[in-house]
Symmetry: C2
Subunit: 314 residues, 2 copies
Amino acid sequence: MNHFERALELAERGRGKTGDHPLVGAVLVQGDEVVGEGWYEYELVRHAEVAALEQAGERARGATLYVTLEPCSHHGRTPPCADAVVEAGVARVVVGACDPNPVVDGRGIERLREAGIEVELLDDLASRRQNEAWRVWKGLGRPFVTYKAAISLDGRVTVPGRRWVSGEESRRRVHELRAAADAVAVGMGTVRADEPRLDARDVDAVRQPRRLAFGRGPLPEGSELELRSGALADELSELAAEGVQSLLLEGGPTLATAFLEADYVDKLLLFVAPVLAGEGPHVVGELTRSLELLHLRAEPCGEDLLVEAYLHEP
Amino acid sequence: MNHFERALELAERGRGKTGDHPLVGAVLVQGDEVVGEGWYEYELVRHAEVAALEQAGERARGATLYVTLEPCSHHGRTPPCADAVVEAGVARVVVGACDPNPVVDGRGIERLREAGIEVELLDDLASRRQNEAWRVWKGLGRPFVTYKAAISLDGRVTVPGRRWVSGEESRRRVHELRAAADAVAVGMGTVRADEPRLDARDVDAVRQPRRLAFGRGPLPEGSELELRSGALADELSELAAEGVQSLLLEGGPTLATAFLEADYVDKLLLFVAPVLAGEGPHVVGELTRSLELLHLRAEPCGEDLLVEAYLHEP
């Protein structure tokens, strides 16, 4: 593992503990020696870079800082990290990704360069993916939307005679996805057909996601879902304002197709089961235009495949 | 690599050179030492086991033979291999897969056991896959059928505005598949829409596959395809009798669905492109029953995914 990968790994320690803030990891290297490490957690208050600098003390002078996200340049709960990096005498900074926050966006890097520090911006996929939800939420003012579906290899969302399309391991992963999402949503067709609970079960969930139904009409009696019946754009803005960074869309195809048409889907996660269903609705309906995907990949998930793709560069 | 994997690797040397016979590889081990190796090629006449035994000479006595396919028990172009193994004094034989040839099926193993040789039958997937086409041809009297299609992630076989659904690497792989198949086939819908040549281009093809169109009605003028207009069962029996072990079905969905309904598809190979098409025909049409798949897996193929699954245990 190189120093930058170590910084990405450190950043992950903050997963679920950063509040409205992004994951950040930092490694400070003097010659061949790691002299400081840090990561961000909301309750630690201290930013990742500052933690690494404090650990290094005088050895930060002339060192190289590897940091997964551009150091901040503004006063928030803490003073600007960029200033701390300059004051510590760091010689070189390797930055994973720019901060999409309009208050920062490039100013942190500019501040470092003005002080004579050599800055290398990697702008790499791993750094951007690490905060993919936060980046969309901060940069576009709407939640990062993942459309998750379980499908047959012929792209159908139901299989005759099967309660579930996908296998046990895939269903377990869905509960992990719910536990990691700020909100989970379905359309009214799915509400009426399945009355889904949408909660994260049998996983180590810090808190349950908000559970939403998009559409019109009355919810079934006893449903614990929140009904969001406004225009998608308005509902998404409102959810973002309420702190919903990530929305897991669980279908059905009608709602997903509406989200896709409006360009509100960021990522597809398809659990593909080893079966040809031969009938039933397809995972995506008719679109008025084709949509290019990025970073298509697949991994085994029990006997299923988990296929992932992005609609926009993360 | 263990001895058995080495035997599988040796067998591959015969790929394309075994005529109507299967690939076979053999490794003979005395203590820790490999004392003989062999593989089958039609022109060498000698079977893999016999080649390994001849190489070992007296050192075959008390040795262990690793062989990918059950040794034959009948007189063909050569005397029965099982007899040669017994005569050489081999103590133990590890067999990859049974021979589906009705003339052999288990009798080779029986012959060895009767002679007091310890026999372990692995019946492993790698051995069965190595001769998957030959096994179906020999065991069922029809060609092994692979349905290959290039699709969008939403399972459509065309994408608006694109000449090809899949990328360059996938298209190159299709020519390799054609070069490895005994015959390539499409339905009349595809013939009329695309007038495909179906030949293997820009690859190192020993010989071109036979190029077939299934269906009724006249072929377009100048078409070099053979028209097969009989019942599928009859056509497949006839092709098998003519030596066609493997048939690559290239669509369209109507023909593929007919093959699937009749349970004549053995394997699916889907080149999945990173795009949602949003319109156009789906890769598999309506089926009267769902079809379970086996050994579902995916690998990157350029920017596409190559997804593979079996309809029957190979």
